[in-house]
Symmetry: C2
Subunit: 143 residues, 2 copies
């Protein structure tokens, strides 16, 4: 039997799977999004990261607005088939819609007291307003 | 107003959030699981990775059966608050229930033809049967 490779992915009830993008050079986890079968197939075929935007309900070709595309070096699948890992080259060095290199920019910190806080530990490298010229007031993550 | 740090997490309708464990030393993405509020709080308090197992519907203290616990060095939150990243020290060097270092051990490869296949590219470091003595015949991922 010739099983199609996309059939080995454990798509959820919405036809989606979790997709992580990791910087192939620095090892930094850049972002987490969703993929459907069409976006995974296009990613494998073109070598450019394509996700599925739940809010827009359509394919999201990473960088289509911001120019911050991702060249895909490697595609991995996890043991139970419900996580895809993309090893990517992040064009422009910015993966996050806030203008930061990675979306994982808040770090849990505790001061002397027992109270913990999320601290922003990564700088904004580019003003989001210049990244999304079509949405002057509300740049948003299309996830 | 004093917002509790766990209130800044964007819990889904089930009260869960995606949690990624990354090896703090090698940078390798080790696994993806779920967390609820209780497991995140316990992780922050104890410095040991605690997830929420959907299949068992209870907290899953990573390594409780296998001994392959994770010491947590750092906890990060993403821009829209629905992904947690743990930077961990993986005890025993094995994160996956298959006995491999990482759960992301299948790589998409294409031979000369157009057909792609998922190839297992990481070795089994430990026989799963010896990792889960209580389940001789069916070691399984509790995710």
């Amino acid at each position: 039997m010739n099983t199609k490779w996309t059939d080995e992915v454990n798509w959820d009830e919405r036809g989606l799977v979790t997709a992580i993008a990791q910087d192939a050079q620095t090892g930094r986890v850049l972002m987490v999004a969703w993929m459907n079968r069409e976006s995974l197939t296009e990613t494998a075929t073109t070598g450019q990261a394509v996700y599925y935007s739940r809010s827009r309900q359509r394919l999201w070709r990473k960088g289509e607005e911001s120019g911050h595309a991702q060249r895909v070096h490697d595609i991995r699948l996890d043991c139970d088939g419900d996580v895809i890992l993309l090893m990517v080259e992040q064009i422009g060095g910015i993966a996050c819609h806030t203008g930061r290199s990675s979306c994982l920019y808040r770090r849990l910190e505790s001061s002397g007291s027992a109270e913990r806080t999320w601290s922003v530990v990564d700088p904004v490298l580019k003003d989001p307003a210049t990244m999304y010229p079509s949405k002057k007031n509300s740049p948003s993550d299309p996830s």
